[in-house]
C-alpha cells in the first residue's frame, strides 16, 4: 500500500531532532507538526514572521492579527518571537532554519525542484518557496511518486519551470524514501508492502538500488 498523507507526515517527522527550528510548507508538510515525537521540542517557523507557531486558537483566543503563512489563524507557543518579513527571510536565506519541508510537482536527479508553476494554468505565485529552497541546507520534499496517470515525478530533468536549482537532497514519496547525490536518485527505504520493482518502474530518473531496501519505519 502506498503511504497515506498522514503516513507521509509520520515518515518526515523522523527527520526532526530535538532543538530544531523547522519551516513546514502548506499541505502534507503542515501535518508533520502532528507527529513530533514525545519529549522532543521543535520550534515551527512561519515565514510571515513567527517563530514558535502554536496550534489553532480556541474561539476565545481567535485574533485577526495572529496568522500563519497559510493565512490561517494560529497561536504562538511560550518562548515564541514575532518579527518582520525581512527578518523572517534573513533567517531562511541565511541558513538558520534547521529543516524545511515542502511539496513539489517534480524533482530531478540534479536536485532541481519544480513546485509553483504549470505553464498554461493560472499562475498564482511562488510565495516564499524560492527563498526557502535557496536558503535551506536540509530540505525534505514530500510528494506522490507518480501522477494519477502513473507518470513519474522523479525525473532525469524537471520539465516544469524550477523553484530552485540543485537544492534538493531528500524526497519522501508515498512509495519510497529517496536521496539525491552525484546526479542520481538513491533508493534508501520503501513503503511497507511496496516492491522495489514498482518503485523502479515509477522512477524515470536514474535510480541506484542497493541489494537490500529496508521498509520504512514510522
Amino acid at each position: 500500500m502506498s503511504l497515506s498523507r498522514e503516513q507521509l507526515a509520520m515518515r518526515v517527522a523522523r527527520e526532526l531532532q530535538d532543538g530544531y527550528y523547522v519551516n513546514l510548507g502548506i499541505g502534507i508538510p503542515t501535518l508533520v507538526a502532528n507527529y513530533v515525537p514525545e519529549g522532543m521540542n521543535v520550534m515551527l517557523q512561519s515565514e510571515n514572521g513567527l517563530l514558535g507557531m502554536g496550534p489553532f486558537p480556541t474561539e476565545q483566543q481567535l485574533d485577526a492579527d495572529m496568522i500563519n503563512a497559510g493565512k490561517q489563524t494560529v497561536t504562538a507557543v511560550q518562548g515564541a518571537s514575532i518579527f518582520s518579513s525581512a527578518e523572517s527571510f534573513a533567517m531562511i536565506r541565511g541558513g538558520h532554519v534547521d529543516l524545511t519541508v515542502l511539496g513539489a510537482f517534480e524533482v530531478d536527479v540534479h536536485g532541481n525542484i519544480a513546485s509553483w508553476m504549470i505553464p498554461g494554468k493560472l499562475i498564482k505565485g511562488m510565495g516564499g518557496a524560492m527563498d526557502l529552497v535557496a536558503g535551506a541546507d536540509n530540505i525534505v520534499v514530500t510528494m506522490t511518486h507518480a501522477s494519477k496517470h502513473g507518470e513519474s515525478k522523479l525525473l532525469p530533468q524537471c520539465s516544469l519551470p524550477l523553484t530552485g536549482a540543485g537544492c534538493i537532497k531528500k524526497v519522501v514519496t508515498d512509495l519510497a524514501y529517496v536521496e539525491i547525490a552525484d546526479g542520481k536518485f538513491w533508493l534508501k527505504e520503501r513503503a511497507p508492502g511496496i516492491s522495489v520493482d514498482e518503485i523502479v518502474a515509477k522512477t524515470a530518473g536514474e535510480l541506484v538500488v542497493p541489494e537490500v531496501v529496508p521498509e520504512m519505519e514510522f
Binding site: S46, E47, N48, G49, L50, P55, F56, P57, T58, E59, Q60, L62, D63, A64, D65, M66, I67, N68, G70, K71, Q72, T73, V74, A76, I82, F83, S84, S85, A86, S88, F89, I92, R93, N112, M117, L122, I123, K124, G125, M126, G127, G128, A129, M130, D131, A134, G135, P161, L162, T163, G164, A165, G166
Partner: protein, 234 residues
C-alpha cells in the same frame, strides 16, 4: 512639537498628493496588517494606473482587491496573488500586469530601497524564471542573481500604536511587511489603532522610528480574517 506632529485629521489629507501612474508600496500579508482605510481612500479618490507593491492583492471586496473593481491598478509586484476572481479575470484579459517576486526577495527589495541600497545579490530564484535576464555573479562558488531594490512614491502602512512623532509598534503578525514598507516611501502614510503621546512608547521597543513616517491617521478597522481556523476549547 509642531514640526514633528505628523497626525492628520482626515483620510483625504492622509493620501493628498497621490496621482495617476504612481507607485504605492503597501504593508500587510494576506488581509493581516493591511492599511484597509488608506486603501479605501485610494478607491474613493479614483487614482488610476497605479503600480502596487504588496505581497498579495487582497480578496474580492476587501483590501487591495477593491482597487481592481474600477481598474485602478496597472501593475502588481507580489509573491502570491491567487485569492480573488477579479484579479484572475483582469490578468487573463491582459488588463493587469503582474511581476511575481519571491517573498523574501520582495521584503528585501523594500528594506534595501528604504536603506539606500540600490540592488543586492541573492541565491533565491537562480536557475528559475525569476532569474532570467538578471546579472549572475559567483561568491564562494555559488551563483547569485542581482535584484534591484524598490522605492515608492507612497508607502501605506498599518500599525497598532503610534505617537505623534510617527514612532510605531505593530501588533503580533500584523507586523509582516509593514516595517519595510514604512522605510521605502517618498511619502509614508501610517494608519494606527491607538494614538499615544510621545514618551509613552518605550524607546527601545519601537519597531519603526518616526523618522520614516510623514503622516499618521487614527483609524478604526474591520480586520477581516481570511482563513478562520479554530479548535475546540477541550
Amino acid at each position: 512639537m509642531a514640526g514633528f506632529d505628523k497626525v492628520v485629521g482626515s483620510y483625504a489629507e492622509a493620501m493628498a498628493g497621490l496621482e495617476d501612474g504612481m507607485t504605492v508600496i503597501a504593508g500587510g500579508f494576506g488581509l493581516c496588517g493591511i492599511p484597509e482605510n488608506l486603501i479605501a481612500e485610494i478607491k474613493r479618490k479614483g487614482t488610476r494606473d497605479l503600480t502596487i507593491v504588496s505581497n498579495n492583492c487582497g480578496v474580492d471586496g476587501f483590501g487591495l482587491g477593491i482597487l481592481l473593481e474600477d481598474r485602478q491598478i496597472k501593475k502588481m509586484v507580489s509573491s502570491y496573488v491567487g485569492e480573488n476572481a477579479l484579479f484572475e479575470q483582469q490578468l487573463l484579459a491582459g488588463e493587469l500586469e503582474v511581476e511575481l517576486t519571491p517573498q523574501g526577495t520582495l521584503a528585501e527589495k523594500m528594506r534595501a530601497g528604504g536603506a539606500g541600497i540600490p540592488a543586492f545579490y541573492t541565491a533565491t530564484g537562480y536557475g528559475t524564471p525569476v532569474g532570467e535576464g538578471k546579472e549572475v555573479r559567483e561568491f564562494n562558488g555559488r551563483p547569485y542573481i542581482l535584484e534591484e531594490s524598490i522605492r515608492g512614491d507612497f508607502a501605506i502602512v498599518k500599525a497598532w500604536k503610534g505617537d505623534r512623532y510617527g514612532n510605531l509598534v505593530y501588533r503580533h503578525t500584523a507586523q509582516n511587511f509593514n516595517p519595510m514598507a514604512a522605510t521605502a516611501g517618498k511619502i509614508t502614510v501610517v494608519e494606527i489603532e491607538q494614538l499615544v503621546e510621545p514618551g509613552e512608547l518605550e524607546p527601545s521597543q519601537i519597531h519603526t522610528p518616526g523618522i520614516y513616517v510623514d503622516r499618521v491617521i487614527v483609524g478604526s478597522f474591520e480586520k477581516r480574517i481570511e482563513q478562520r481556523t479554530v479548535r475546540s476549547a477541550n
